[in-house]
């Protein structure tokens, strides 16, 4: 399991996370197999592999269980190669939506509230809010994958990750609205502007949203806004 934390150390364009997966599986494979069998097992796990790093845990656990069955001469519904091929893409999509698209922005916005108050606890808050569920998922699902085998697929399906990701994104958007309002409130106070000017921020942010959806990059927006600010204060 600890080796799984370094899944992407050897990420390559050719077969993506293949070496990382084998690195995680290698001690178990060496224990299960010898000689030609071990060589074949290594070759099996050097095939192309790509999934969300936190979702590799259950795939590893189930793969380990399937390898044990193979070693014992038992057959299951699906062999380990097909299981990996079938699950890596959907688990990758789930992980991207839930962790990168949901949990990470949520943790960031919560931490930003602390940062805006000038608290150096903000980084700690970020790390804790994000990593408690992250490590729980990694450890528990690896263990459950090993214990339940292919039944783990139903377990993960039962969690309803896509819906959970949507709820988290909605929560993040609401918190973002509050954070932006607080930032604007601070600005109007510091610059001695009437509060009503703060309402102008809403259409400006919507304009930014529109431009992003039309393909404008964050960097271009940053530079444009910086130039506009310099021009306005300069004039």
């Amino acid at each position: 399991m600890c080796r799984c934390l370094l899944l992407q150390a050897s990420w390559n364009f050719g077969r993506l996370q293949n070496i990382g997966f084998l690195f995680a599986m290698a001690p178990a494979l060496r224990w299960l197999y010898q000689d030609d069998d071990l060589e074949m097992a290594f070759a099996r796990h050097l095939e192309k592999f790509n999934t969300h790093p936190y979702m590799a845990g259950p795939i590893l656990g189930v793969s380990l269980e399937l390898e044990e069955k193979r070693r014992a001469g038992e057959e299951d519904l699906v062999d380990v190669e097909n299981f990996k091929t079938m699950t890596m893409a959907p688990y990758g999509a789930m992980g991207d939506a839930f962790f990168w698209g949901g949990m990470r922005p949520l943790a960031a916005v919560i931490a930003l509230f602390f940062a805006l108050y000038g608290s150096l606890l903000a980084p700690l808050v970020f790390v804790l809010v994000f990593n408690v569920p992250h490590f729980w998922c990694r450890l528990v699902w690896f263990w459950k994958g090993y214990r339940q085998g292919l039944g783990m697929v139903r377990t993960i399906q039962g969690w309803g990750f896509p819906d959970l990701a949507i709820r988290i994104k909605e929560t993040t958007v609401i918190l973002l609205g509050g954070m932006c309002a607080y930032l604007v409130f601070l600005l109007t106070g510091e610059e001695g502007m009437p509060m009503v000017y703060g309402l102008l921020a809403a259409p400006l942010i919507c304009a930014g949203v529109f431009m992003v959806r039309k393909g404008c990059s964050s960097l271009a927006l940053l530079i444009s806004v910086a130039l506009m600010v310099f021009l306005s204060v300069g004039l």
């Binding site: 290594f42 940062a115 993040t172 918190l175 942010i205």
Partner: protein, 230 residues
């Protein structure tokens, strides 16, 4: 003294850079974590916190899926914090103005991180080819070595990105900061607010849910009115 600070920041750039892709991804690579950490080590955590606030949301919505490599906001954060702390001390400058300028010049320079990241992955490609040949020939002991060498490649790519940002940033700061200092002092509050708002717009623009903008506007307006009233 400068050398000590550079080495300290370079070490953080390596650790945070490895966490970004090759490591356990426990968010040490995020600007809101890497920048204050850099600032604390260099003796000014608050500047690091400011840099982190400015940068955190900008590329947060960019999902590192598959072969997609986002701009290296980790090295931008560490580099901009280093430049801000050193030059604020050197010129006794306004820390907010310096942080804003350092972030503005570091953001385009951060694109170099994508180049070095690709190089690291390219070297990993060679390792992959070598490992496939070894396993085919029955040599099975190289797995760990090839895999962990990837940490070295990603670490090197991180520190090289950091050094490019710092060196180029130093040249730009020395030549242009005195020219724009007055504009920065007048506009730093606006820019300090604009950066996270742009980041928020980017996140909302990327979240493709049916009522995202409505939710945001309702929350924004109600919070602003509540703050105004109280």
């Amino acid at each position: 003294m400068f050398l000590f600070e550079l080495i300290a920041a370079a070490l953080i750039s390596i650790i945070a850079g490895i966490d970004r892709t090759a490591g356990p991804q426990i968010m040490l690579s995020r600007p809101l974590v890497a920048a204050p950490l850099t600032g604390l080590v260099l003796g000014n955590g608050m500047i690091g916190l400011e840099v982190g606030v400015l940068l955190e949301l900008i590329w947060l919505a960019w999902v590192p899926a598959g072969a997609s490599i986002p701009p290296d906001d980790t090295q931008i954060a560490v580099g901009a914090t280093f430049l801000s702390v050193v030059f604020t001390e050197y010129w006794k400058a306004d820390p907010t103005a310096m942080a804003v300028f350092a972030v503005l010049i570091s953001c385009p320079l951060g694109r170099i991180g994508v180049f070095f990241d690709r190089l690291a992955r390219g070297y990993n490609d060679r390792g992959n080819s070598r490992l496939l040949r070894s396993v085919k020939n029955g040599v099975l002991e190289e797995v760990e070595g090839v895999h962990l060498l990837g940490l070295l490649y990603f670490g090197l790519s991180s520190v090289l990105s950091f050094l490019v940002i710092v060196l180029a940033g130093t040249v730009i700061l020395l030549n242009f900061y005195p020219l724009v200092e007055k504009l920065l002092l007048m506009g730093s509050n606006f820019l300090k607010t604009a950066f996270p708002l742009i980041g928020a717009a980017t996140i909302i623009g990327t979240i493709r849910l049916g009522h995202t903008v409505t939710l945001f506007l309702v929350s924004f307006m109600s919070t602003l009115l509540l703050l105004w009233y109280f």
